[in-house]
């Protein structure tokens, strides 16, 4: 591209309402163009919430659950269907929407949240072991490996009703024993991404020097350690080096004024309630994407387990909510509270999509090259056996995902979820694909094809299990 072309493009981009935000990815793009390496970037956002994605909350109103029972995979166009309350905010994006039912949990135990199993599709044990055992790569990390970025994987979390939690490991990992921590406080995530709020000096540059100094310090101990102890130390050295490189890049962006322009405005005082914290974390994720700081984001609104309270909606414990206990203050039962929670998260997800739609990119918008994976870390209910794991996919990643449809893999049974309520859950056929197949579909969509994603044994060679899912991949 000639210099004139780049200037023209810059002028055109800056003339839009989102000019300042578009500036940062544009800088990245210009450098890539000059290097001859430019490709339209793809982005994937994983939204994980707790307590299950009830069938009632994800099936269009005109298609009650029993009607979907069948022994064949069926697709329904969404065009004339009405989205249910929980995901109604996605209505403007119905043509970019795919709802999926009938995937199985496979070897994952998702009841009470699947922990590291939710995004890895691996058996990481039961009970609390699920948030301790890190046995392999998670799908967001696998996608991040392909898509790269200054922050290859931005991992944000919300500890419901617990504003003191700074970070926790819950969902994502580069591999066995290599978990990533989810940043649980918006103001701290902000600081990592954009620098101190209102900062006038380049903290990133000074931090880089500090990191290098500290790294030199600790490296001296290498010669005195052996085996596992040396591996432990090297893990830290690697972290120092990775942070140093990242801070060097951020320092450059800070000097160019990009970070200050694109940083979101955080509410003051900093959010405390669950709902406000969710909103702030989505705002941060959105800004990080449009600034070009990251291409892959995971937001775990309940940290892949059951804990805390949905403050801002209900002060009851999330566990009791999932058990359909009654909130005395609100006068409604838990299963009526959960749709409010899911809807709030859906609204923030829709806002993210709306923002991306405003961002011009290569003749279209950023939304055209984005995929949001919206699901629960607890499959379809709190005490689930993983009999059906509903997903909503938003966006088509540059036309790689078939959207505008509800896909239902063979569903054999419809049972009451809790006695005395109308909530019902469905059960996928025993030979249906598992969530691993969907994850491999996403890998194919971003151009990181694999034979399978974290399957074991014969499933690794069974096309029905490995994916990609032909109903979803173009």
């Amino acid at each position: 591209m000639s210099r004139m072309d780049r200037r023209s493009m810059l002028a055109r981009t800056l003339s839009t309402g989102a000019a300042t935000l578009a500036f940062a990815p544009l800088l990245n793009k210009l450098s890539a163009l000059e290097a001859g390496t430019y490709k339209t970037p793809k982005r994937v956002v994983f939204v994980l919430f707790g307590n299950g994605f009830h069938e009632k909350g994800s099936i269009p109103k005109e298609l009650p659950a029993p009607q979907l029972e069948g022994k064949k995979t069926t697709t329904y166009p969404l065009e004339k269907l009405t989205l249910p309350h929980d995901i109604e905010p996605f209505t403007p994006w119905k043509d970019r929407l795919a709802i999926v039912h009938g995937l199985r949990a496979g070897s994952v135990h998702p009841d009470h949240g699947a922990g590291f199993g939710a995004l890895s599709g691996m058996n990481v044990g039961v009970g609390d072991d699920k948030i301790r055992n890190v046995l392999g790569e998670s799908i967001d990390a696998a996608v991040a490996r392909k898509l790269g970025g200054i922050f290859p994987l931005l991992n944000l979390g919300i500890d419901p009703g617990q504003p003191n939690t700074k970070a926790i490991r819950c969902s994502s990992a580069w591999g066995a024993g290599q978990p990533l921590a989810a940043q649980c406080r918006p103001e701290l995530a902000y600081e990592s991404l954009f620098g101190g709020i209102g900062a006038t000096k380049n903290d990133f540059a000074t931090r880089k020097n500090l990191l290098d100094l500290l790294n030199d310090d600790i490296k001296e101990l290498r010669s005195q350690l052996r085996g596992t102890e040396l591996v432990q130390l090297d893990y830290q050295i690697e972290a120092f080096e990775s942070l140093s490189k990242r801070n060097a890049k951020l320092a450059e962006m800070f000097d160019k004024g990009v970070l200050a322009k694109s940083a979101p405005k955080l509410p003051t005082p900093y959010p405390v309630k669950f709902t406000d914290t969710v909103t702030a974390q989505f705002d941060i994720a959105t800004s990080a994407i449009v600034t070009g700081l990251t291409n892959v984001v995971t937001i775990a609104t309940e940290l892949c387990t059951i804990r805390g309270n949905y403050t801002g909606i209900s002060d009851m414990g999330t566990h009791g909510v999932g058990h359909n206990e009654k909130d005395v203050k609100l006068g409604i039962a838990g299963l009526e509270i959960l749709p409010l929670v899911r809807r709030h998260i859906a609204e923030r997800t829709a806002a993210l999509l709306g923002r991306l739609k405003e961002m011009p990119e290569d003749g279209g918008t950023m939304l055209d090259n984005t995929l949001v994976v919206f699901t629960s870390d607890s499959a379809n209910r709190q005490h689930t056996h993983g009999e059906n794991w509903p997903f909503v996919l938003l966006g088509n990643l540059g036309g790689r995902i078939k959207t505008g449809q509800l896909v239902v893999y063979p569903i054999s049974k419809d049972s009451p979820t809790y006695s005395g309520t109308e909530n019902r859950h469905m059960t996928a056929a025993a030979d249906n694909p598992t969530i691993n197949a969907l994850y491999n579909t996403i890998l194919h969509a971003v151009g990181a094809q694999r034979d399978h994603f974290n399957l074991i044994g014969a499933d690794q060679k069974n096309p029905a299990m490995t994916g990609p899912l032909k109903e979803l991949l173009v």
């Binding site: 070897s107 691996m122 609390d128 948030i131 301790r132 055992n133 046995l135 392999g136 003191n164 700074k166 970070a167 926790i168 490991r169 066995a176 024993g177 978990p179 990533l180 921590a181 940043q183 701290l188 600081e191 990592s192 931090r207 020097n209 500090l210 990191l211 100094l213 500290l214 030199d216 310090d217 001296e220 101990l221 010669s223 005195q224 350690l225 052996r226 085996g227 596992t228 102890e229 432990q232 130390l233 893990y235 830290q236 972290a239 120092f240 942070l243 059951i306 414990g317 566990h319 009791g320 058990h323 206990e325 006695s419 974290n454 074991i456 044994g457 014969a458 499933d459 690794q460 060679k461």
Partner: protein, 718 residues
């Protein structure tokens, strides 16, 4: 059990079982199975209904993968072949494990290479050999390591720094500068040297904490000289010089700042490295900024993260230098830096020999004014009762015991009462383990930690005439004769009703911690006893097993747990279930009971109980007879084996066992040394056990023996 050098050597160096090129499973596995397994697991009447004669080593077949994983677990745990059968040689066993591990991994199953380093694997070192009295041939010590300091230790350091320099930081509640490494909940003994990694998240939070403290330090040193509190005048000079600061002023800062922060002089290397950094930063950013950056660097350097336990040179095991040793000792007991007296002993050269270390250990243990949170934490982590508040009990479940609403249940009380019980037994320091296992006393409603309970002190609660709902529940659960506030004293112990309780394993804190949301957890309870008291080994749950009991609330737990009697499951479950089922004496809230409540299906489904939609209005329960029998089997000490009629008979038998005492000593070793024991630690364990016994079951004597052993004093990087 026969002594097997190969496996023991592997365990002694803490390495996973692996080889550069593992032998092929097809060549190793099938002959091994044919030679040692198919006589029982063959074509005709295979035991546990498992046939191995048709195995082909094709792990892409789900069934084959499942069976080979079971084989791995059994051979790995040495539970198979049975003791009475022909045994493979060490080489055969090792080769099978290597080839099988590689083949299973290749099939996509992740096996944790570091599992041997976790506390739960400590029991895999042969108990009888450990206590056989074979003298150590040479000093082995502990491998050179960086042992990350605990969260409380880090937080204590920062808090004291803030107070010493009167930095005016609100270090509480949401503003508290918490340790930057509590991002993963841990179980067993979480403070294991091998268990942690310091990654990007930890470093980022460490830097943030350091920046907050450093900025406050700069502020304090920027104004007039304060009349009280900590102050580093050289730092103030540098800060005030601003952009005119000279290299000499920068150089002057280093030594006094090291003294103030770490109580020591900087080493030559530190002088060079940090000196250069400080001079360069001063030249480019000025004195104030340079001072801030130096402080951040020092508050993030290695000593802030780790107990550095490395020998001074390569080669044979060497005694830790006095300063490192003093830090390791202080952190082991107090979660704090060495106190004044310990620092003085180091400075005077009186801390290095075993006896000198023992003097300091005894002093710390005997001095009531020195806080020793690590000792209580050992008992919390060993018994695991402190996790009771994490077990959620929903309102419907609470209603079944007559508790209305979640406010009627506060598990923190029970944990706090158990803590006080442990502390009171430790204060006596006589037959500590036996007393904890057999006491019939409890504290009642002692004040839980304030961060959970708010600020309701004992004084505040004593003034309230009526008991709160959660207090009423506790009185009911404990069955105490407390009718009114005037009857209650939080500092007093109460007797449980005779024959209803016996020690911590029947205390509601432990019972609730070892329960589920809706039921007792007999398997967990049995596993705890098998591993923590009997020193047994439970193989890992095969990945292909869906470990769930049937959802049949109309049956007792004892009935539902019968699914584990299938031979495939029973090999492992026979080690757990019969030990846990006697505790059916209590419900899952820890209440003593004589009958068990189950769902009455017929009454619930009766027309009278259905609403207009045909759904039950309520779940109706009925009482059924209680069975509290169980059995001890497969113990290393055969005197322990045999049926028991209830939990009390089981506990008494265990509490009077020398073998159980030895297993307890092994766990104390793991906790205080931060690693699993190896064969080389046998003499240390024997000495620690003897010290405990000779001193009448003294925990102080046990801890002193452990913290003056070679395992603490010596390090090797061979």
């Amino acid at each position: 059990m026969r002594f097997t050098w190969t496996v023991l050597i592997m365990l002694s160096v803490g390495l996973p079982i692996r080889a550069a090129e593992p032998p092929n499973l097809a060549q190793i596995g099938v002959p091994f199975v044919a030679k040692y397994c198919v006589s029982c697991h063959g074509e005709k009447k295979p035991k546990a209904d498992i046939s191995l004669h048709t195995l082909t080593c094709d792990l892409s077949k789900p069934k084959e993968l499942q069976v080979w994983q079971a084989v791995l677990a059994q051979i790995d745990s040495r539970d198979m072949p049975p003791k009475a059968s022909k045994q493979p040689t060490d080489n055969e066993r090792t080769q099978l494990l290597q080839s099988l591990t590689a083949a299973i991994k290749a099939s996509g199953v992740v096996l944790d290479d570091n599992k041997w380093l976790s506390p739960v694997k400590g029991n895999y070192v042969d108990h009888q050999l450990l206590f056989s009295g074979v003298p150590a041939k040479e000093i082995t010590g502990t491998k050179a390591r960086l042992w990350r300091i605990t969260g409380p230790a880090y937080e204590d350091y920062i808090d004291k720094l803030i107070k010493r320099f009167i930095l005016g930081l609100r270090n509480y509640g949401e503003f508290r500068l918490t340790a930057p490494w509590n991002f993963t909940p841990q179980k067993d003994f979480p403070d294991y040297a091998s268990a942690h990694r310091v990654g990007e998240a930890e470093i980022e939070y460490l830097l943030r904490n350091a920046a907050i403290v450093s900025q406050a330090m700069i502020k304090r040193h920027s104004g007039n000289v304060p009349s009280y509190g900590g102050y580093i005048k050289e730092l103030a000079t540098l800060i005030k010089a601003g952009m005119k600061a000279t290299p000499e002023q920068a150089d002057a800062v280093l030594t006094p700042t090291f003294r103030e922060l770490f109580g020591r002089e900087p080493s030559d290397r530190e002088k060079e490295r940090y000196g250069t950094f400080l001079r360069n930063t001063t030249a480019s950013l000025g004195g104030a900024e340079a001072a801030e950056q130096l402080l951040i660097a020092l508050l993030c350097q290695t000593e802030m993260i780790y107990r550095i336990e490395v020998p001074n040179k390569l080669g044979t095991p060497q005694k830790l230098d006095a300063r490192s040793l003093s830090r390791s000792l202080a952190f082991a007991l107090t979660d704090q830096l060495p106190d004044q007296l310990l620092q003085e002993a180091v400075a005077q050269g009186k801390f290095g020999t075993r006896e000198e270390v023992a003097i300091q250990v005894r002093r710390i243990l005997d001095d009531a004014k020195v806080e020793k949170p690590r000792v209580l934490r050992f008992f919390r982590e060993y018994f695991g009762y402190d996790s009771a508040p994490n077990v959620f009990k929903d309102e419907v479940t609470l209603q079944k015991i007559g508790v209305r609403g979640a406010r009627g249940w506060n598990a923190d009380f029970y944990v706090s009462d158990a803590d006080q019980l442990v502390l009171s037994v430790l204060a006596q320091d006589r037959d500590v383990l036996r007393e904890l296992l057999t006491t019939t006393k409890t504290f009642a409603m002692t004040n839980p930690p304030q961060d959970r309970r708010g600020t309701k002190s004992d004084e505040y609660r004593l003034k309230k005439p009526n008991f709160e709902q959660d207090e009423q529940t506790l009185i009911k659960v404990y069955e105490l004769p407390i009718k009114a506030r005037a009857d209650w004293d939080p500092k007093k112990t109460y007797d449980f009703p005779e024959g209803h309780r016996l020690g911590l394993l029947t205390h509601p804190a432990w019972l609730v911690a070892q329960s589920g949301n809706f039921d007792n957890h007999a398997i967990h309870r049995g596993r705890w006893i098998r591993e923590r008291l009997l020193g047994g080994r439970i193989p890992e749950l095969p990945i292909t097993v869906n470990a769930m009991l049937p959802d049949e609330p109309h049956h007792t737990l004892r009935d539902r747990i019968k699914v584990t009697r299938e031979e495939y499951c029973w090999t492992c479950h026979k080690q757990m279930d019969p030990l846990g089922l006697p505790f059916e004496q209590f419900d899952h809230f820890g209440q003593f009971r004589k009958e068990e409540m189950v769902v009455d299906r017929e009454a619930t489904a009766d027309k009278k109980n259905l609403n207009k939609n045909g759904l039950p209005r309520q779940t109706i329960h009925k009482l059924v007879p209680l069975d509290t029998t169980g059995e001890v089997s497969g113990s290393i000490d055969p005197k322990l084996d045999g049926p028991v009629k209830d939990p009390f008979e089981l506990i008494r038998r265990l509490a009077h066992s020398e073998h159980v005492e030895q297993v307890f000593v092994r766990h104390a070793f793991r906790y205080f040394l931060g690693r699993n024991e190896t064969m080389a630690d046998g003499p240390t364990l024997i000495a620690a056990h003897q010290a405990y016994r000779k001193n009448g079951g003294s925990m102080k004597a046990l801890i002193t023996a452990l913290l003056t052993s070679d395992a603490l004093l010596y390090r090797t990087n061979q």
